[in-house]
């Protein structure tokens, strides 16, 4: 009895890919904002390509009118001599709220971020972390649409 109780208790998954719901997100428009000064235009292009390729590989159609916006924001700041980089990946779109009058607003319907130290190679660290954030988004999308 006790074992069965425990088995039942443990059979729930404590983690899912995301708390957001990504059902029926098929098309996206990329908005890429780089507010750092440590990467060249070529390196920024590589980041954009990485994001674009991963989204296309997952089957997203990019560039359609009124599609939800896939936001990538990268900022850097210095904290006591250490370079800190903040990255944000999200989906922004028009939604109808449950407020009185069913008010519409632009809202983030997916958001994930990372805060890392730049160390000696901030670009490489940014690329790695951004790749992870995009992969996490794709995993969450797969899970919700499987």
């Amino acid at each position: 009895m006790r074992k069965l109780f425990l088995a039942l208790l443990l059979s729930s998954s404590l983690f899912s890919a995301s708390l957001y719901t990504l059902d029926n997100v098929h098309s996206l428009n990329l908005y890429f904002s780089n507010q750092t000064d440590f990467m060249s235009q070529d390196q920024e292009g590589i980041l954009k390509s990485m994001v674009t390729e991963k989204l296309k590989k997952r089957g997203f159609v990019l560039g359609e009118t009124d599609a939800p916006i896939f936001v990538v924001k990268i900022n850097a700041l210095e904290i006591e001599g250490t370079q800190a980089i903040h990255m944000e990946v999200g989906i922004g779109e028009e939604v109808i709220t449950k407020r009185k009058g069913k008010i519409g607003t632009f809202a983030y319907t997916y958001l994930d971020s990372q805060f890392i130290e730049g160390y000696s190679d901030p670009y490489k660290n940014t690329l790695e972390s951004l790749t992870l954030l995009v992969d996490e988004f794709i995993t969450a999308h797969k899970e919700d649409n499987e």
């Binding site: 069965l4 039942l8 208790l9 729930s12 998954s13 983690f15 899912s16 708390l19 719901t21």
Partner: protein
């Protein structure tokens, strides 16, 4: 009189809390005593869902799992479902269900109001269906 009732129903519908809307959609009750009474009459287990209005994982559990047609069918066929808000409904259900982690699901044997099993956190529909089946097996084996 009929017009008054219709207007009151409409008023309740428009201003119903999201938890009430959800309960109506999935055919769950909102009152603990009523759930116990119904479960005794229908010889079913009470499936008590504890959520809160600020909890995004609870919302996802409601949207993705509890509203899933197969889960809804199973819940309505074999259980008496009830959904409560951990804080807003405080005092209207026994203290033992004031769980620190939500969403939480308690499977309750109605005669002695004994907890047969408990699950916590978000679950996908297939995982939750498995848990419902496990709870049913447990209830059946305890009855024997």
């Amino acid at each position: 009189m009929k017009i008054l009732i219709a207007l009151l129903t409409l008023f309740n519908f428009i201003y119903a809390a999201q938890i009430d809307e959800f309960a109506t959609e999935v055919n769950y009750l909102r009152n603990y005593e009523m759930a116990i009474k119904t479960a005794k009459e229908q010889k079913k287990i009470v499936m008590l869902i504890v959520v809160a209005d600020y909890c995004p994982w609870c919302k996802k559990f409601e949207r993705k799992s509890l509203k899933e047609p197969a889960v809804m069918a199973k819940a309505n066929e074999s259980f008496v479902g009830i959904v409560i808000d951990k804080y807003k409904d405080k005092g209207e259900y026994p203290k033992e269900f004031l769980t620190p982690v939500i969403p939480a699901v308690f499977f309750i044997e109605p005669k002695e109001q004994k907890i047969l099993a408990k699950t916590v956190a978000y679950m996908k529909p297939d995982e939750f269906t498995k848990n419902m089946n496990d709870a049913l097996s447990l209830y059946t084996s305890e009855k024997k």
